[in-house]
Amino acid sequence: MLTRRTFIKSALASNVALLATPSHALQLALDNNQDKPLLVFADERALNAKEFISQVNDQKENLDLDIGQHFDVLTKFCKESPHGHIAGLTRDSDFFVLEQLAKDHGFYVNYSATHSYDGQTLTHEITAPKEPANLIATALKNAADQWPNWLAKNMHSLPQSHQAMITTKRQLTVPNTQQHNFLVSWSLSASQNS
């Protein structure tokens, strides 16, 4: 489990003013999988994803236009790390393709979130098991424009259990949104992890 201390530390590391979050809820809701192999995908052409991937220390893959170029990496990881964890901050289409490919290796979605900009409004829409969904939604909102950093630092703690999911939304006002594309963060893990 991710401890409250680690959670706050990671948030503070990205200059985030974190709202008080019940430590018990955190401990129950967020997983700690520091020891599990993690493969992270990101669309390096998008500013937020570029910032995100720069903070990731695990095995990572920068995506180009043709997601087909990365099939071998995903397949190899799934075969070599059947208890591993795959995550990303990518274009919606890339997430869709990777999800479809991963399911044939027994890896399924347990968290996804859309991050969309419209005018000066940033919307995070999180789909995950109930407790982590609400915690992540709040954390992302609190992280303001540093949300990619928060995600990068908490990749290992994203939900990895396969439970019924809810969708929850948080909105905030941010400046200078025109340079940002619609992105999706997501997490897949093997079904035997649950």
Binding site: L65, D66, I67, G68, Q69, F71, R91, D92, S93, D94, F96, V97, E99, Q100, L101, K103, D104, Y108, V109, N110, T114, S116, G119, E125, H162, Q163, A164, M165, Q178, N181, F182, S191, S194
Partner: protein, 522 residues
């Protein structure tokens, strides 16, 4: 979550059938979990509700014998199954079944490449073989053969061919290149078509027809059997390949370029199926809509023109290729340049000047049968992009193309959507693909897209056009437009269905073909 059930089937009956199927294929290959496993057997791009196409289970057999046993079980319980090969038929429903509760028969584990014959240029494959699989096999073996893949290429040869899919090399008419198939009928009988019906056949991949009625087509876009093997002709690697692109400045150039193409195409001066692609389709490869326009409704012309200028694209962008020895290609390219150079403002592009442009790069790959997934980038034109394809057949005739284009564009704009489309010129026809893209997270926008699509079916039919393929939601509506002589074609389909599948277990409703027990309810 309540388990979706097929019409008239109880949970007890479903569970009993599933328990028997598990004994056939093993529990690991029966998928029941709605939260994780069955999510990937749905269609995220539907325009109604997820529940409308939610399966109750999926099962993945590994061989023909297991399929026969599964069919025997579902015949007993009268449970409908929905057959998929790789399940990548997105824009037309993907792996999702026509109605909720069907059991998906997923043939992904039947993925053997049974033969590749370099001398005669063909392959025999099982349904789970993807274009990537066959391409990689050919590369690893160093065979001098090309495949012809769909865009995107993660789909399977059997599935795409049986859906009447098209590609971009001279072998782009996939069903035309199909040669021989093995089919399991609803009662478990295994049928070979063509020459493989003869004992010790040596020519199954060479000659399509055998003796007697050629019935292969009956098993495509239908529900009369489960295809378990297929032969497909492969193009010998040519000594040379010259792709080209022509950017065209005006909307009306669609008429001219189409008329100029037909004689070049049917006389084989242009060897492959050339494409006339609209500006937004091309632009979506490298930019997103909100980089040029953040307003509601279709993108205004002024913004389109700026985008065309920035990206060095035309309002229409024409791709084609010639193949063969250098002198032959030079001869053909001279004719092509003379012909299309007559269009005012037409500009030719080649690899030396265009390489690195995302639209050019993926078309160059497709026209030489190199699998890629770049076309999926289109979905990022708007955030959370979903799409269904409206795909009427047009004559390879300028006025006909313009008529279809103007009809679809007007209705799309009336409904607040961009026109994103392309024409793929086959032999004498064109596949006109209008990619109806919508925000799949907006219920209102999905509804609007659904209503537009339904209107387009009727508008096209009124002008004398039918669609070559469609999404699950519109199979019945489109079937009703193929209505000549009091729906006699559909009466024939239904007569075959009733004879071959009396319990109506195989993909009920596929393309509008319903079994007797469900016909009145469709």
């Amino acid at each position: 979550m309540t388990k979706p059930l097929p019409q008239g089937i109880t949970l007890g009956q479903l569970n009993a059938a599933i328990a028997e199927i598990e004994k056939v294929v093993g529990k690991d290959y029966v998928y029941l979990d709605d939260v994780k496993e069955l999510r990937s057997y749905r269609d995220p791009y539907n325009t109604t509700n997820d529940a409308d196409f939610a399966p109750s289970a999926a099962v993945a057999p590994q061989n023909v014998e297991q399929i026969q046993k599964i069919l025997a079980i579902v015949n007993t319980y009268k449970i409908p199954i929905w057959t998929i090969s790789t399940g990548k038929n997105f824009a037309y429903g993907g792996p999702a079944p026509r109605k909720p509760g069907y059991v998906v028969l997923d043939l992904k584990l039947m993925n053997r490449i049974l033969e590749v014959n370099e001398k005669h240029g063909y392959a025999i494959v099982e349904p789970g073989v993807s274009y990537y699989d066959l391409y990689n096999y050919i590369q690893e073996k160093g065979l001098k053969l090309w495949i012809d893949c769909a865009a995107p290429a993660w789909g399977g040869i059997v599935g795409n061919t049986s859906e009447h899919g098209a590609g971009y090399t001279p072998y782009g008419d996939h069903l035309l290149m199909q040669c021989g198939m093995q089919v399991v009928l609803a009662d478990g009988t295994v049928v070979e078509t063509g020459m493989d019906t003869t004992p010790n056949s040596k020519t199954g991949g060479l000659y399509k027809y055998g003796q007697g009625a050629a019935i292969d087509g009956l098993f495509t876009q239908s529900n009369f059997g489960v295809i378990t093997r297929m032969g497909i002709w492969l193009m010998p690697e040519p000594p040379g390949y010259t792709p080209f692109m022509i950017t065209l400045e005006n909307e009306q150039d669609l008429e001219t370029v189409t008329d100029l193409t037909l004689p070049l195409r049917i006389n084989q001066v242009i060897h492959n199926a050339p494409m006339t692609v609209d500006l937004l389709w091309e632009a979506a490869m490298s930019v997103s809509r909100n980089q040029y326009y953040t307003g509601k409704g279709p993108m205004p012309d002024s913004h389109r023109k700026k985008m065309a200028k920035d990206l060095d694209l035309g309002i229409w962008n024409y791709y084609g290729a010639v193949y063969g020895p250098g002198p032959m290609m030079k001869n053909n390219m001279d004719v092509i340049r003379d012909t299309f150079g007559s269009i005012p403002g037409a500009k030719f592009h080649y690899d030396d000047t265009r390489k690195g442009d995302p639209g050019w790069d993926y078309r160059v790959k497709l026209m030489k049968g190199t699998p890629n997934m770049t076309e999926f980038s289109l979905l990022n034109w708007i955030g959370g992009g979903g799409h269904i394809n409206f795909s009427p057949i047009s004559a390879a005739d300028g006025k006909s193309a313009m008529r279809q284009y103007e009809m679809i564009r007007k209705s799309a704009h009336d409904f607040g959507f961009d026109y994103i489309g392309e024409f793929l010129i086959g032999w004498r026809d064109q596949h006109h693909i209008f990619m109806l893209m919508f925000n799949r997270m907006s219920a209102e926008e999905k509804k609007r897209a659904h209503d537009l699509f339904a209107l387009l079916v009727d508008e096209a039919a009124a002008l004398g056009y039918g669609e070559y393929r469609t999404h699950l939601s519109f199979m019945d509506q489109i079937a009703n437009t193929y209505s000549w002589n009091d729906n006699s074609l559909w009466d024939a389909h239904h007569a075959i269905k009733d004879e071959l599948d009396p319990n109506g277990i195989l993909s009920p409703g596929k393309q509008g073909i319903w079994p007797k027990n469900l016909r009145g309810n469709s």
